[in-house]
């Protein structure tokens, strides 16, 4: 039985943490994720959960302590945003390469500068090659559902990798919306007890974690890690299937919204996907065959599956919520175009940049993008790739 409630995205994730009741949570506050450790601390103070909370002096330390606790055999997590994630950079790599199945609740916020507290995906995208599984949410509901699936994915023996559960700062983290919550005991049952195979505090089987590796071992370790990331794809799907059977809400690597007969498809991540879906419904009523492909799992990148889902589109708009400063667009555009090419899907693709530093993205912007992609496809309109949407300029 689910319970209908209303919560912000931060409240939803904190509630999921309470229900999972992990062993250790080291954290350092940063806007807009501060409420998560704050609410968890309150739950602990009120005896509603018994997680060991460690207030640390920086995010470098919060991730270090998360790794330390996880290595000792404790189910661990932390939460952060933006510069906090950047300060964890070295530890993010250590968590993944030491195969620590810990979890990070990331509330996406732009990286400096200019310094700004609002949403874009530059923090998560900066960590895309650190070896973490990355799962994005459209809503408070999805942030909640994704968090409950995080440990079953991370701790699966085929995976053994850390998982980053991402949601859009302020846009979902601070917006109160309807939500369906699962029963406590059902969540506990779904996630299960953590039984690590090998851990530092197991004196029957002493191991070393994080030692130096000479050149003759590094590539093998990396390959094993890479294979784990590949394996995680099927585990993510299995866990989602089990989640749907139990709680009724289904997930895949990505969501296909009205794609079946769609001529034009917008590929997008996070909260803006909801706005795009509304716009697609509006345009469909006017007879335009459009759809939305919402990427849920960015790492591992579902290249082949995405190419297949997009193979019948006449025109594709790829929406990027970060800037890579390479003169060639951001990571989603680069990787998806490569996936299309590799799978011999040759169609019109236009990449756009939107929503940096919390810049608003509305249904009107979605209409504008679809109109342009249609124009490109039908009339051969020449467009600038990686054009910024909703940008103020001095030109007309």
């Amino acid at each position: 039985m689910s319970v209908k409630d209303r919560m912000s995205g931060n409240e939803a994730v904190a509630y999921a943490i309470k229900q999972v009741n992990p062993d250790v949570m080291p954290a350092f506050p940063i806007t807009p994720s501060t409420e998560i450790p704050q609410l968890v601390s309150s739950y602990i103070a009120n005896n509603e959960m018994d997680t060991e909370f460690i207030p640390v002096e920086s995010e470098h330390s919060s991730m270090s302590a998360t790794i330390g606790a996880e290595a000792a055999g404790a189910r661990s997590l932390t939460a952060t945003s933006s510069c906090g994630l950047a300060l964890m950079w070295e530890e993010l790599l250590l968590a993944a390469s030491n195969r620590m199945p810990c979890v990070l609740a990331l509330v996406n916020r732009t990286l400096s500068g200019p310094i700004n507290i609002n949403c874009d995906h530059s923090d998560a995208m900066g960590a895309r090659d650190t070896g973490w599984i990355q799962i994005f949410a459209e809503s408070n509901q999805e942030a909640y559902d994704n968090f409950i699936q995080a440990y079953p994915i991370a701790e699966d023996p085929r995976v053994h990798l850390p998982v980053m559960i991402c949601q859009d700062g302020f846009i979902t983290s601070h917006a109160v919306m309807n939500i369906e919550l699962n029963e406590d005991n059902e969540v506990k049952e779904f996630v299960g007890e953590y039984k690590p195979e090998e851990f530092l505090l197991n004196n029957n089987k002493p191991i070393a974690i994080g030692p130096y590796a000479i050149s003759s071992y590094v590539m093998e370790a990396r390959k094993a890690q890479e294979e784990a990331m590949e394996n995680s794809k099927e585990v993510i799907i299995e866990v989602a299937k089990r989640y749907k059977e139990r709680f009724g809400r289904g997930f895949e690597l990505f969501e296909e919204y009205r794609l079946d007969d769609a001529d034009y498809i917008m590929v997008i991540m996070g909260s803006a996907a909801g706005t795009a879906k509304q716009a697609v419904d509006d345009l469909r009523e006017k007879g335009m065959k459009v759809g939305v492909l919402k990427i849920r799992v960015f790492r591992p990148f579902p290249a082949e599956e995405l190419a297949k889902a997009l193979s019948n589109a006449k025109g594709i708009a790829i929406m990027e919520r970060t800037e890579s400063y390479n003169g060639h667009g951001g990571p989603l555009c680069a990787e998806l175009r490569a996936a299309l090419y590799e799978n011999k899907v040759f169609t019109n693709v236009v990449c756009y940049t939107y929503g940096l530093g919390g810049r608003d993205f509305t249904v009107d912007h979605v209409y504008e993008v679809f109109e342009e992609v249609k124009d490109v496809t039908e009339n051969g309109k020449k467009v600038t790739q990686h054009r910024y949407i909703n940008l103020r300029t001095n030109k007309a």
């Binding site: 302020f170 309807n178 909801g274 706005t275 919390g358 509305t362």
Partner: protein, 194 residues
């Protein structure tokens, strides 16, 4: 105004509680079974800076995550904002703007860039001071938003707000009656002109 999907924009100053009012409105509408959304737009985080908050209240699931540009209702928590912010921007002609001010509707209309729709004034400072002994414009403005938007019936609103305040102020029960009084005083004042 489409009663199936009402959009409200709040204008206030940091620290006045416009964000809290929007969240409280989402909260109380949730209890009627509606789909709700309540969220603030954050600029620089400082007391006194203009802030905006938003509500969508709908019979259908809400998926849009953008700000609101063509609201049905605009709530102006701080009347001084009228001089610096175009509060009626995009406001639907069949919508309404509610301004917290001791001034008359005629005086306020002069300052609203020729807005043709309905204008209501509510002296939230006076009501709050009288009911609570302090200037907390939140409760009167919340009641005004409900009275004008008609997102729910007065009786149900009053009942739900009592439960909500009893929960919220469990450790400060002395402020519950004052807040309840502020709500009913606001409804009484607005029902005369609605």
């Amino acid at each position: 105004m489409n009663s199936e999907n009402i959009e409200i924009r709040w204008h206030g100053r940091g620290g006045q509680g416009a964000k809290t009012a929007a969240l409280l409105l989402a909260d109380v509408c949730f209890k009627t079974g509606a789909y709700v959304q309540g969220f603030p737009e954050y600029g620089p985080e400082r007391m006194g800076a203009p802030i905006t908050a938003f509500n969508r209240i709908s019979k259908n699931e809400i998926r849009v995550h953008s700000n609101i540009y063509t609201p049905d209702i605009v709530m102006v928590v701080d009347e001084s904002l009228i001089h610096s912010v175009d509060v009626t921007s995009g406001l639907k002609d069949d919508g309404a703007v509610i301004v917290n001010t001791p001034e008359s509707v005629e005086e306020v209309r002069k300052l609203l860039n020729g807005y043709k729709g309905r204008i209501y004034t509510i002296d939230a400072r006076k009501i709050s001071t009288e009911a609570l002994g302090k200037n907390f414009p939140n409760s009167p403005m919340l009641a005004a938003a409900v009275a004008v938007s008609k997102v729910m019936e007065r009786d149900q609103f009053i009942k739900e707000m009592r439960a909500s305040y009893e929960h919220k102020f469990a450790k400060k029960p002395e402020v519950i009656e004052g807040n309840m009084k502020a709500l009913t005083m606001t409804f009484d004042a607005l029902e005369e002109v609605l």
